[in-house]
Amino acid sequence: MSGVHVSTTVNGDAVEFVCPPGETLLDVLRNRLNLIGAKEGCGTGDCGACSVTVDGRLVCSCLVLGAEVEGAKVGTVEGMAEGGELHTLQSKFIEHAALQCGICTPGFLVAAKALLDRNSDPSEEEIRYALAGNLCRCTGYDKIVRAVDAAAKQLATDATKSGKKSKRR
């Protein structure tokens, strides 16, 4: 079978790969690009463990073909921390013990970031519905919702502070 040649951007880096036309983006990320943060929990779009963003849109990478991301911008959990600094969501997940086994965590982080990117001050209900496509079997979601809420508040505080700073400048 002849492969498809794809040029794309993953976490800001230009990337090229060749894959069979039927291969999922999840398999491409994991098996061709060594990005194992996205997990396969079901392969059918039902668990969210494979969540990534394509051009800022939250998707299940098990339902997207590798060939479809030609020219797109793909974001994975590996791109969340900036250098040595964790994203606020990541540090809040650790601080609030929002992970037990951690297999669902990359998917939750990507989905939570997608939520906060479009709604910086979500209610508990909005958080719960935004994360309803991600399954976690360990935590009962309690500490996950609290971590996302805490991250939203922290990001808001940080934004006010840096806003004030820039005004002063």
Partner: protein
């Protein structure tokens, strides 16, 4: 050597850092995607494996033709049961494990493995599976537990004769075992009763539903040495099992446990790992084998479905005078101990003069059952705790007061034999009674329920090492998998004992070549038994540290004490010697006797029993029968919470699983004996928007069998939810559901029938 006899002198001590909530050591790896789970390992030249599974619930396998598959380009190995000969030497239990991994002449359930291939890529492997021709002779099947017990039911294992009955039966049946527990005079007890309630219940089969499917990377060389990377709750046990089944030497098979993406009991058994090793041995290449979600549902180990009869008699003053139960547990196609465990736990919450439980382990054409968090207890508790509410109502008593009056306490003879030491059932009930949740107002169509639960917890074999680095940091090496934050808890324990900051300890999970045998992380034993071994290993280290300090000071070791993380010279004669920190001593270790280490091997006894009481509010939509949990509170005895975040996490996770079991989750089999819903779309586990926050209250009634008083915490809280929700639904909708899951159609049917 450290002493291994439980030293209770530290129970209730003032802890410095035990009970604090520092970040877990593996946190950064897990939030950045760096942590490696079962499917995240790759080896040079690895092949991809796939398994061919039976589409029939019960069939004779007449022939398997693999020739065309073997000839396909890119296929490197095909195996059937011929490649996994019986080396078990008459050990039927081991042969069952082998037969479950690969069918031997008969397929016993939909999804039973019949052949496997390893090929250069998944696409080739998929094609190869299609080229394998299997001829089946389909046999009659049975998937329901009550049907399977009937005389005319198709026999699943012709060699089975029911154990636990006298005389031993001459004929085969699907009842693998009968077990009985209890004491007193049941007949006399019921004769004295003022009220008697008798009910029958059913619970459907559920799956642990861990998000990570089974996955492994196996590599066996022509020299007979092998390595296995695998997601498991017990890599030492996997090593022993795989080595025995494949005829390998234990020391020559190194098993490394990956990070584990959930297990809850389902990753305590081998399901496919011996097949991966057999493929690798045949192909002489590393082989990666992962299950799809559908395979996880069809061919790993869900929990039993059950059918249970309960009879409780009580006197007008509110005392239970007789209690009896008959429990029928379906164990899939191979015998297990699920009925026995159910019978042991049935009456464990109560102080009863006359009680009895009789259980049957029943074979059906479903996958072999496995443990699921406090295995077998939730179903028995559903039946008992629902009936307890009915008895209280009949007596006109408050259900909490009724339970308090009958609760087991220290000195109570447990229904399964032993006499209880200090236990938490009474205190959890008192906490429930006084909880603000119990007094909160309810809206229309809302109802409140509560229920209790019990679990034994286990100790078992453990081996732990502590090595002190020259810079004074400490490496703690354990052999129990970290399934939910135990590395943090164990680091806290080591730091507490040594008197050093938590950040100076790094906890690692060792592979099977690097540490002595450790049993599974099951029975809530991770923090209990590795914690105990860590305490003794740390005390072993302290002995060495005192010796080294004595050598540095050139004084008698008896004059050296270990206080607050430093060696202190005792007595006026030594008042000129200033204390030496762990780091001071470590720095000098190359010249004072070499590396500083401590270790401990133990069979940890004394895992304390644990009790929980839950409160739950639900709202039932009378039009659709849909039930929403609107408030939930867990009260559980932890003995001592080492890291409270992860104790709460266990309570919350267990409660959420119980809620799913109670309301939604079930294996649905068709007339053809095939599983109809092997996926997360049709087997629906609770999602974030289904649940409220789950409040927790940790009680600490120290376990005298552990130096810090720790009890296992991981399992008990899956026991009460089924009945707590059942009782709440009954109070909300005025109908009692004796069949879980209480799915909308079942509730609607009950509401309409009651009209």
């Amino acid at each position: 050597m450290a002493e291994t006899a439980p030293d209770t002198s530290f129970t209730n001590q003032d802890f410095k850092i035990i009970g604090t909530r520092p970040p877990r050591p593996d946190g950064v790896d897990k939030v950045t995607g760096r942590a490696k789970y079962g499917a995240d390992a790759f080896a040079a030249g690895q092949l991809t494996a796939l398994i061919l599974r039976s589409p029939h619930a019960h069939a004779k396998i007449l022939s398997i033709d693999t020739k065309r598959a073997e000839k396909l380009k890119g296929v490197k190995a095909v195996v059937t049961c011929e490649d996994l000969p019986d080396l078990t030497g008459g050990n039927r239990g081991m042969l069952d494990i082998l037969e479950n991994c690969m069918a031997r002449g008969r397929a016993l359930y939909d999804g039973h493995a019949v052949a496997a291939v390893a090929a250069i890529d998944a696409e080739t492997a998929k094609k190869a599976l299609k080229l394998i021709k299997v001829k089946y002779e389909v046999l009659p099947h049975v998937t329901d537990v009550d049907e399977a017990m009937k005389k005319k039911a198709p026999i699943i294992q012709p060699h089975i004769r029911t154990t636990g009955v006298d005389p031993k039966p001459k004929k085969a049946s699907n009842v693998a075992a009968r077990s009985q527990f209890g004491h007193g005079d049941i007949e006399a007890g019921f004769a004295a009763a003022d009220v008697i309630v008798e009910e029958s219940y059913k619970t459907e089969q559920t799956h642990q539903g861990y998000i990570e499917p089974h996955a492994c990377l196996a590599s066996v060389g022509p020299d007979g040495q092998g390595e296995l990377w695998v997601t498991t709750q017990g890599h030492f046990v996997f090593r022993n099992t795989c080595a025995a089944l494949l005829g390998m030497e234990v020391a020559k098979l190194k098993v490394t446990s990956s990070e584990i993406g959930g297990g809850f009991g389902g990753k305590t058994h081998v399901w496919m790992e011996p097949v991966a090793l057999a493929l690798s041995r045949k192909a002489n290449r590393p082989v990666k084998l992962t299950m799809s979600r559908e395979e996880v549902f069809r061919a790993s180990g869900p929990t039993s479905s059950t059918s249970i009869d309960i009879k409780i008699g009580a006197t007008r003053d509110g005392r239970i005078c007789a209690a009896s139960a008959e429990l029928r547990y379906q164990g899939g196609a191979f015998p297990g101990i699920w009925g026995m465990l159910g019978a042991m736990t049935t009456w464990a919450c109560y102080d009863l003069e006359n009680c009895q439980s009789v259980a049957f382990d029943v074979l059906v054409n479903r996958p072999k059952s496995a443990a699921y968090r406090a295995p077998s207890a939730p179903m028995a508790a559903f039946a008992v705790e629902s009936t307890i509410d009915l008895v209280a109502a009949k007596l006109g008593m408050d259900p909490v007061d009724f339970r308090i009056l009958n609760a087991a306490k220290e000195g109570t003879r447990a229904s399964y034999g032993p006499t209880y030491g200090p236990i938490g059932i009474g205190p959890t009930l008192e906490a429930v009674k006084n909880h603000p949740h119990m007094k909160a107002p309810l809206g229309p169509n809302q109802g409140r329920g509560m229920a209790c639960g019990f679990w034994f917890n286990f100790g078992g074999q453990t081996c732990t090492d502590i090595n002190v680095g020259v810079d004074g940091t400490v490496s703690l090496t354990v052999g129990t998998m970290d399934v939910g934050g135990s590395r943090a808890s164990l680091s806290l324990i080591a730091a507490e004992e040594l008197g050093i900051p938590y950040e100076r300890v790094k906890c690692n999970v060792a592979d099977t070549a690097s540490l002595g045998h450790n049993d599974m992380t099951e029975g809530s034993r991770g923090t209990f038994s590795s914690g105990m071994a860590t305490i003794f290993a740390a005390r072993d280290v302290v002995k060495v540290l005192r010796n080294r300090a004595a050598a540095m000071w050139e004084i008698d070791v008896d004059d050296v004490a270990w206080e607050d993380g430093q060696a202190v010279a005792k007595g006026i004669a030594h008042s000129n010697l200033s204390p030496l920190s762990l780091a001071d001593i470590a720095r000098k270790s190359p010249t004072t006797g070499g590396p500083i280490a401590g270790h401990n091997e133990t069979v940890a006894d004394g895992a304390g029993v644990s009790f929980a009481s839950h409160i739950c509010d639900v709202e039932v939509d009378p039009e659709t029968g849909a039930t929403k949990v609107i408030r939930y509170t867990v009260v559980q005895d932890a003995g001592k919470a080492i890291h409270p975040d992860y104790v709460e996490g266990q309570f919350q996770g267990a409660a959420a699983q119980g809620i799913g079991w109670a309301l939604n989750e079930e294996y649905i089999y068709g007339e053809d004996g095939r599983l109809q819903n092997p996926g997360f779309l049709d087997y629906r586990i609770p999602v974030c928007s289904d649940l409220p926050f789950i409040d927790t209250e940790i009680l600490e009634i120290p376990n005298p069998g552990h130096p810090y008083g720790v009890r296992g915490v991981g399992e008990t809280s899956i026991v009460p939810p089924l009945a707590a929700i059942g009782n709440a639904v009954s109070n909300a909708a005025g109908v009692r559901l004796n069949h879980v899951p209480m799915s909308p159609p079942r509730i609607l049917k009950a509401i309409n029938a009651a009209k």
